[in-house]
């Protein structure tokens, strides 16, 4: 092999090796750029267009947006998602933290209990919704069971009560996600330096005070992650509502996700549907982008 030819050959191989990684990444990036960002752009454009049954690219400015904000159902949807998210996030976080702390007391059957608390997360929202719909059905479920057990004045008709139906969705959603939040907190608790706690004990602090003053403040990153994940789950919630209440009674449990689906697919209002979807994206992006930014900017290069 002559000197110069070998050099040329090597640099060709080096160039190929330098390109290969980008080439391998390219399909994923292309897919994501097209199917995520391209679609976001498309939907954003549609929200400013005259689209109704089919896409119509005539520009109509903010017409669809003002129709969205003038819509009666959208008001209900926003109110519902606000109530739902708040209750869901707060309940899951508090219950999850409580369970994690209780489980962290050197419990005998910890593995088993953990499994029980966590299994709902493995279920589809559709299954969860089906089960809870049946469970809370006033005619046949919990209410009837209580009556049969002798508590005849017991009344639980939330599922079909327009004012209360959203809370039944919260109950089912909390049931599903609490175990997951518990697992996050448990991992956080196990990561805390034991010597610090020993030091606090030697200082004579009671157990509850150790938790309140020393341990829980250290779980701040877990709180942040839990809230971000739960908020993102809440805004995306669609399946559970469809399976449990179908958005009803009436439209009492409509949320932005079901609103969008119904406007896009049954009301021939693609423009409004697009506007509502863009709004949802904006809310999630406001939550997620700073989170991702801080995660990615981190010390790892």
């Amino acid at each position: 092999m002559s000197h110069s030819s070998s050099k040329r050959e090597m640099s060709a191989r080096a160039r190929w090796q330098a390109w290969l990684p980008k080439l391998v990444l390219a399909p994923s990036l292309a897919l994501v750029l097209f199917f995520v960002y391209g679609f976001i752009l498309w939907t954003s454009y549609i929200s400013f267009s005259a689209s109704d049954m089919l896409p119509n690219y005539t520009w109509v400015g903010t017409h669809q947006w003002s129709r969205l904000w003038g819509s009666w159902t959208w008001g209900i949807a926003l109110h519902n998602i606000w109530v739902f998210s708040l209750l869901y996030i707060v309940s899951c976080t508090l219950l999850g933290l409580l369970l994690a702390i209780l489980l962290d007391q050197r419990i005998r059957a910890e593995g088993l209990l953990r499994t029980i608390y966590l299994y709902p997360m493995a279920l589809s929202f559709i299954v969860t919704g089906t089960a809870w719909q049946w469970f809370l059905n006033p005619g046949l479920g919990l209410e009837k069971t209580m009556h049969e057990l002798g508590w005849t004045s017991f009344s639980f008709d939330w599922l079909i009560n327009a004012d209360m139906a959203i809370y039944t969705v919260v109950i089912a959603a909390v049931w599903q996600a609490t175990g997951f939040v518990m697992a996050m907190f448990l991992a956080g608790l196990r990561g805390i330096d034991g010597e610090m706690i020993k030091a606090a004990q030697i200082d004579g602090a009671p157990v509850w005070k150790i938790y309140l003053r020393i341990i829980i403040p250290q779980l701040r990153p877990v709180f942040l992650s839990a809230v971000v994940v739960l908020a993102h789950l809440a805004i995306k919630s669609f399946d559970l509502i469809v399976a449990m209440t179908g958005g009803g009674p009436g439209n009492a449990t409509t949320v932005p996700a079901t609103f969008m689906y119904s406007y896009a697919f049954s009301r021939n209002e693609m423009g409004i549907a697009a506007a509502s979807a863009v709004f949802m994206l904006a809310v999630i992006a406001a939550l997620i982008v700073p989170y991702l930014y801080s995660e990615l900017r981190g010390p790892r290069s």
């Binding site: 159902t73 009803g248 009436g250």
Partner: protein, 420 residues
């Protein structure tokens, strides 16, 4: 970023030929529909058999769920991708929407041969014609201002068939006082709207119905008459049971069948449930026009629209299909199974059951008196966007303590919002 844009371009080059390679057309007709329940499927079977006799293969494309919502979504993606089915089952304003987009075949020739413009009622022609051309073949006419009653219960409680709205409420009260459910009620938006349009027609009359729900006049929508209609709806709702939320219409019908409830306000497809239970009209159960709406009929009609095609064979099939649907024999046979009445006004009602005979006569009279009007709940009064806006308000009203004045105001606002 140039790398990425090149990749995207490349991907486009790979994907586009794929997209253009349309699948070959089979020698069948492909009919998209959402007739998935027993009676409906049987009725459709009549068409299938008729076509089979003519040597035309049948590729059923039933899309279940969502009362046609899913079917419309599928249809949209098929049309958008340039691969529409031969024909599709469709309701009211949706047919117009497709025609507006110039996607439908012209059925003028068949219509002329069979003289459709003479035999179909004018109100229905509004939807089967677009810009003077025929775009759809109607299967039947359903009407929605029917009350279905439990005969045994009426006899037991000494209730006569009510003639006026007040009689109607009195009868419901009697049943309620005796421990029965007065009104069998299904709590889904379209059912709320069905009852609502009955109440509007009963309290405001045919002209008001037309003004408010078809012409969508803002003043009519927020008028005192509309407030009164909401008041009457509120009163009517006191006779339903508390567990009605989300109930399907046929489960409500079952309450009447099983002697649990006295009346149900529902379209004539409810008759199928009585048939299935082995009950005879006018003997075991009664049917009558919603009190206060006599003389007028709110209707809906399934029609088959055909999609434009360049395939001469498919064109021929489409015309054969349209011809078959509009043939007198088919119209009668179909309605027998579906519980409806024929869309043609020139047929003999002999072969229909008692309720349908009565209904057919009433439809003809209403058509002559220009009191045959599209049902709002089924997309024959206003476009889907308006229809659903009305659903929103009515359902909210039904499921809350909203007062009638607010409801009327919100209704006018929602309709305006959806119209613009």
């Amino acid at each position: 970023m140039t790398v990425i844009s090149n990749v995207v371009k490349g991907l486009g080059c790979v994907l586009f030929p794929l997209a253009l390679a349309a699948p070959a057309h089979a020698a069948d007709v492909e009919v998209l529909n959402w007739w998935t329940s027993g009676g409906e499927a049987k009725a459709l079977g009549v068409l299938k058999d008729d076509l089979a006799e003519k040597g035309i293969g049948w590729k059923n494309m039933p899309v279940a769920g969502g009362a046609g919502t899913n079917a419309m979504a599928v249809l949209r993606s098929r049309v958008a991708s340039g691969n529409p089915p031969t024909a599709a089952q469709i309701l009211g304003f949706d047919a117009r929407d497709w025609a507006q987009r110039d996607t439908l075949a012209n059925l003028d020739q068949v219509a002329q041969e069979q003289n459709w413009s003479e035999v179909l009622p004018q109100a229905l022609q509004e939807f089967t014609k677009y810009n003077g051309h025929w775009i759809g073949a109607p299967f039947e006419i359903h009407s929605t201002n029917w009350v279905w009653g439990n005969k045994a219960l009426m006899d037991k409680l000494g209730i006569e068939q009510p003639k006026s709205w007040d009689d109607f409420l009195a009868a419901l009260k009697k049943a309620k006082d005796a421990g029965y459910i007065g009104l069998a009620y299904g709590g889904q938006p379209w059912q709320d709207a069905t009852v609502f349009e009955n109440v509007v027609l009963a309290s405001g009359g045919a002209d008001f119905y037309r003004q408010a729900l078809i012409e969508l006049d803002e003043n009519a929508l927020k008028s005192d008459t509309m407030v009164k209609a909401f008041d009457q709806l509120r009163e009517l709702l006191t006779y339903k049971d508390s567990n009605s939320s989300g109930r399907d219409w046929n489960l409500a019908t079952a309450l009447v069948i099983n002697d649990k409830a006295l009346f149900q306000i529902m379209g004539d497809w409810a008759k199928g449930e009585f048939d299935n239970a082995g009950l005879k009209p006018e003997q075991d159960f009664v049917c009558f026009r919603t009190p206060g709406t006599q003389g007028a009929v709110t209707f809906n009609s399934d029609q088959l629209i055909m999609f434009k095609t360049d395939d001469p064979q498919q064109k021929e099939y489409q015309e054969t299909m349209a011809k078959t649907i509009m043939s007198p024999d088919f119209q009668i046979a179909f309605s027998q199974l579906k519980g409806s009445v024929p869309a043609r006004m020139d047929l003999s009602a002999d072969k229909l059951d008692a309720c349908s005979q009565k209904g057919y006569e009433q439809v003809k009279q209403a058509a002559d008196a220009d009191k045959l009007m599209g049902s709002l709940a089924h997309g024959y009064a206003a476009p889907a966007s308006v229809k659903n806006a009305v659903f929103d308000i009515v359902s909210s009203f039904v499921n809350s303590n909203m007062d009638s004045q607010t409801a009327a105001t919100q209704l006018a606002r929602a309709v305006q919002g959806a119209k613009s």
